[in-house]
Subunit: 185 residues, 2 copies
DNA sequence: GTCTATACGAAGATAGAC
DNA sequence: GTCTATCTTCGTATAGAC
């Protein structure tokens, strides 16, 4: 298919970013991982690596946001599913792959990475805040609770990864569940 | 002084890691930032870049841990001071410099970075858990609450940085203060 | 302990043939 | 749309003079 190579490069880039970070991922790495033909790189990404990074993080952000929000879910479910998703991801990849948005955000100097990551975080925060207010939580508390959950889960993903244990993420998930339950009661 | 160059290189490395991440920081960058003489690199760090990274993160870990724990503080104070420290750091550096342990942990493939970061996180978690149990919180809740606080603050640092606003970190700090207050009451 | 010079490879990017 | 070849720059590392 026409876009097969492009898609393969983007998804390989995302995987490598999650694994080693943006700065440690080279163009050649993406080529090798995706099996994409060497000569077609600048055909698909005339803007070079910056374009590849930017599009990959944008794509990852859309994916994470879509996984985060399900219109039928309440706030507690959104948070719990988000945490569980990354617990599964860490187990699936033997603790190699973290959150792509985190990887991008830490490369603060690269605007092509940090910019799309900021957008995605903002989108997730907005969705969770909305869900909280619809459940009766007033601003500014709704925004605070949304920030707490996103911060805690993102941080816990990193801790779980470095410890090679799901315990930090599970502990965080349980504490958040308790907080959300008491607020929404 | 004999170790002046060495120290300068290490502290410059830490600053650059916080700013752009480990993968995007080159040896030459560290040299330029520290003003260290080009020819003495392998005199001070015969193990090359791996040694520099490893020692820099170890040093940063000790610094963060020392800042985190003060023997006279209770758990709520430890958490609050940790959050406030990074709020000040973000303001001081115009949101350029995040947590060095985060930067190291995200470079999961580099054991010389991820290893020392994991040690530092573990040390901080142990100190906070101890402080909680001494305040009467039983295990395993003490461990969970410690994990929640560290995860949330570390995650919030990243969010605040990408948004160029202290709001996420402040919101997280306030929510954590509330949780700790209710548990310790 | 610091300097210059340089080797060596990796990485990003481009050109031109097919 | 893909291939090979190549150019340039950068990054790590080493050698040898001072």
């Amino acid at each position: 298919m026409a876009t097969g190579t492009r898609e393969a490069m983007l998804s390989s880039a995302i995987r490598l970013f999650r694994e080693r970070g943006v700065g440690d991922t080279s163009f050649a790495d993406v080529l090798a991982a995706s099996g994409a033909p060497r000569g077609s790189v600048y055909h698909h990404f005339p803007g070079g690596k910056k374009q590849l990074v930017s599009e990959a993080i944008r794509s990852a952000g859309g994916y994470v946001a879509a996984n985060f929000e399900r219109s039928t879910d309440g706030p507690a479910e959104m948070v719990d599913r988000f945490a569980r998703f990354y617990i599964r991801e860490l187990e699936r990849t033997d603790y190699r792959e973290g959150c792509p948005l985190m990887a991008a955000a830490v490369a603060g100097a690269k605007e092509e990475a940090a910019g799309p990551a900021a957008n995605a975080f903002s989108q997730i925060h907005g969705a969770l805040t909305d869900s909280l207010t619809k459940s009766g939580v007033k601003e500014p508390r709704a925004s605070s609770l949304a920030t707490l959950a996103i911060s805690a889960i993102e941080g816990a993903i990193v801790l779980s990864r470095t410890e090679k244990s799901t315990e930090p993420l599970n502990q965080t998930r349980e504490e958040l569940a308790q907080i959300y339950a008491s607020v929404l009661a």
